[in-house]
């Protein structure tokens, strides 16, 4: 099979490069470059992110423009310009609608979508299970219990809600993880099963509490359980965005090791990955992302499940591409869904979680049929 013995790997590699070019010609169209198969390169990641980023900005602008009262686009642009780059001379009605009411809500929607999609992508890769996501694994349920405890117990401490939501998410993750460890080590199927059961339990506990406790502060929470962005972060928006940025960065540093874990834990270990450390980091980041979002936006299901799959169907499974692309796609999906939730039956609002599902499922089915 080897005709001539090469003196070294390098020399052998050199002979191969001559007959199989790595880079294609420059004639390839932008569209084809966007969807070419093969390993993720910085160029490909940049291209995909630029495309999705532009789309996200467009959707955000549309969301500012649309609402129960549609503000002309020129005025939206002027208000934005004044707040971002200039000085605000006078506070007009448009100013209040765009900057005070809609902008925080849209920023929260973008953040929530990005965070949930990253958490889903990370958990799916970590567990090698397509069903893994914060909602299914009970992490969102744990966060919701934590948030309710904070609302009842520490109403006056603003950061108690995200903190306790994270604690709830982390405790649930640990519990589910412990439940899935059996005599024969951890099977990911068992982990998902344990998560589903714990999630069901937690959500029924919450439903019972909401039905039985006459606390007036809990009355709005039935809506919140389905996902609700109308709070716009309730003044916690900078904190939430900050935590999401940090946790996302943490997840992204593990993107390459997650690629190896995706093939298998033993295989990753064979290539020198310190599996336990990566798992701990990834679980921590996913709990943080899911917890902090649930605490301000409720449980928006489905985004964490469907968005990473969508991205993988389009661009392959390399997490260095999947994580940022899922973040941007999740941001787009949630913002679109929330805009629809605000406008479809205006002035009535729909729970955003229901709309994300209704938008996401047909897209997903279409992609599944195509591939």
């Amino acid at each position: 099979m080897i005709r001539r013995r090469p003196a070294s790997w390098r020399e052998h590699a050199q002979t191969i490069v001559e007959d199989s070019p790595i880079e294609g010609g420059s004639h390839r169209s932008l569209f084809r470059a966007l969807f070419e198969r093969g390993p993720a390169t910085p160029r490909k990641v940049g291209l995909v992110c630029a495309f999705l980023g532009a789309l996200a900005l467009g959707v955000a602008f549309l969301a500012l423009h649309l609402g129960s009262e549609s503000v002309p686009q020129a005025i939206v642009a002027r208000v934005l310009w004044a707040h971002l780059f200039g000085r605000v001379q006078e506070v007009t009605a448009a100013d209040v609608i765009i900057w005070r009411i809609r902008a925080p809500r849209i920023v929260l929607g973008l953040t929530a979508g990005a965070a949930l999609a990253i958490a889903g992508a990370v958990l799916q890769a970590l567990l090698r299970n397509p069903l893994a996501e914060p909602y299914v694994l009970g992490i969102s349920g744990g966060a919701a219990v934590g948030a309710i405890v904070a609302i009842v117990g520490w109403r006056n401490v603003p950061w108690a809600r995200p903190l306790l939501a994270f604690v709830g998410a982390a405790l649930t993750t640990a519990l589910v993880y412990a439940m899935s460890r059996g005599r024969t080590g951890m099977a990911t199927e068992r982990l998902v099963l344990a998560g589903v059961i714990i999630a069901t339990l937690l959500w029924s506990v919450i439903a019972l509490v909401l039905a039985l406790v006459p606390d007036p502060h809990l009355r709005g929470l039935a809506f919140w359980m389905m996902g609700d962005l109308s709070g716009g972060g309730d003044g916690l928006l900078p904190l939430v965005v900050g935590i999401v940025v940090v946790a996302s960065a943490m997840a992204y540093t593990q993107a390459r090791t997650l690629n190896l874990l995706m093939v298998g834990e033993e295989e990753a270990r064979l290539l020198g990955v310190e599996v336990e450390r990566v798992k701990a980091l990834a679980y921590f980041a996913a709990s943080l992302l899911a917890g902090v979002i649930v605490s301000v936006a409720g449980a928006i299901g489905f985004v964490g499940l469907v968005v990473p799959h969508l991205v993988r169907l389009l661009w392959g499974a390399d997490n260095r591409l999947v994580v940022p692309a899922a973040a941007l796609s999740g941001a787009i999906l949630v913002t679109l869904a929330d805009t629809l939730a605000r406008t479809a039956l205006a002035p009535r609002e729909l729970p955003v979680g229901a709309v994300t599902a209704m938008l996401g499922v047909p897209i997903f089915i279409a992609l599944l049929r195509r591939v």
Binding site: M1, R5, G38, P39, M262, V263, L270, G272
Partner: protein, 288 residues
């Protein structure tokens, strides 16, 4: 030089390996043979440092494996696991490129040199033409060649292979082992492979370690180890050993005289039934 010195491993109270010693010089291809459950795969895992032995130790170039970091070990060993499952869709090239991880800083993207290295490994195993196909849609033989390419892309000093020919047709079995032997020679690798096909072992291995119930029955050249007496001792059945007329190495011929499945009732002539029984006995003999 990869050395195992009187390695003993037990899972719980059940001993899996008892005082097994083995030395593999650079450029040498060692085969591990033995019945199912005799500890062959465990031995490979011990050699790789995945299972710490209760007694004894494994050394690489005189230094115990415990003194190496996980990343250093990953650069020394190329491993072909037994039938790995790959669920996510990734291309063949991406899969092989992962092997460059221990040479990287752990973050970022693979360099062009990494891609060249992965492609050269794929070309060595004649798998370069499916570099852009999904790993999930390859046939068994194609997959096996890709998995070997992944092990080679590490640029290892030691190659450990767990049944590298199990999914291959006869031609690829010979090609695969020819390639493994060539690589072992010209890159001075210390290679260890587990195999069930004793004729392949006789043809390709420099030395053979025969295991039975976790103990080393024999370690030496194929001529020394693959004898009728030893094979009978290890497998509990009769084989005929003579010379392969093409190469002169030992040729093992199975015999179905002794491994008949127990019959119920008086023997009756059933063309179909007898045929099944015979096929069963051949399978038992050839797979053990």
């Amino acid at each position: 030089m990869l050395e195992a010195r009187e390695v003993t491993v037990a899972y719980g109270a059940r001993p899996v390996l008892s005082e097994v010693s083995l030395a593999v010089a650079p450029g040498e291809l060692v085969a591990v043979v033995g019945p199912n459950g005799s500890g062959k795969t465990t031995l490979l895992r011990v050699l790789r440092g995945l299972v710490p032995p209760q007694r004894g130790e494994v050394r690489w170039r005189g230094k115990p494996l415990a003194h190496f970091s996980p990343r250093e070990l990953a650069r020394i060993f190329g491993v072909v696991p037994q039938d790995p499952k790959i669920g996510f869709r990734m291309t063949v090239l991406e899969y092989v490129l992962q092997a460059r991880f221990p040479h990287s800083n752990g973050f970022g993207f693979e360099s062009e040199a990494d891609i060249r290295c992965a492609l050269s490994a794929l070309q060595l195993t004649r798998a370069v033409e499916f570099r852009d196909r999904w790993i999930t849609e390859l046939s068994g033989g194609e997959r096996q060649r890709v998995i070997l390419a992944r092990a080679l892309a590490v640029e290892p000093r030691v190659l450990l292979l767990d049944e590298p020919t199990s999914n291959l047709d006869l031609r690829f079995q010979v090609e695969m082992l020819t390639l493994i032997r060539e690589l072992t020679r010209c890159r001075a690798l210390s290679s260890v492979f587990v195999a069930h096909d004793l004729n392949l072992v006789a043809e390709f291995a420099d030395r053979v370690l025969m295991l039975r119930e976790g103990r080393a029955l024999a370690f030496g050249s194929p001529e020394e180890v693959l004898t009728e007496a030893r094979l009978r001792q290890a497998f509990g059945t009769r084989f005929l050993v003579d010379r392969n007329p093409l190469s002169g190495s030992p040729r093992i011929t199975i015999s179905r005289e002794e491994v008949r499945p127990p019959r119920q009732g008086p023997a009756q002539f059933h063309p179909g039934g007898t045929d099944d029984a015979e096929r069963g006995s051949v399978e038992i003999a050839s797979s053990s």
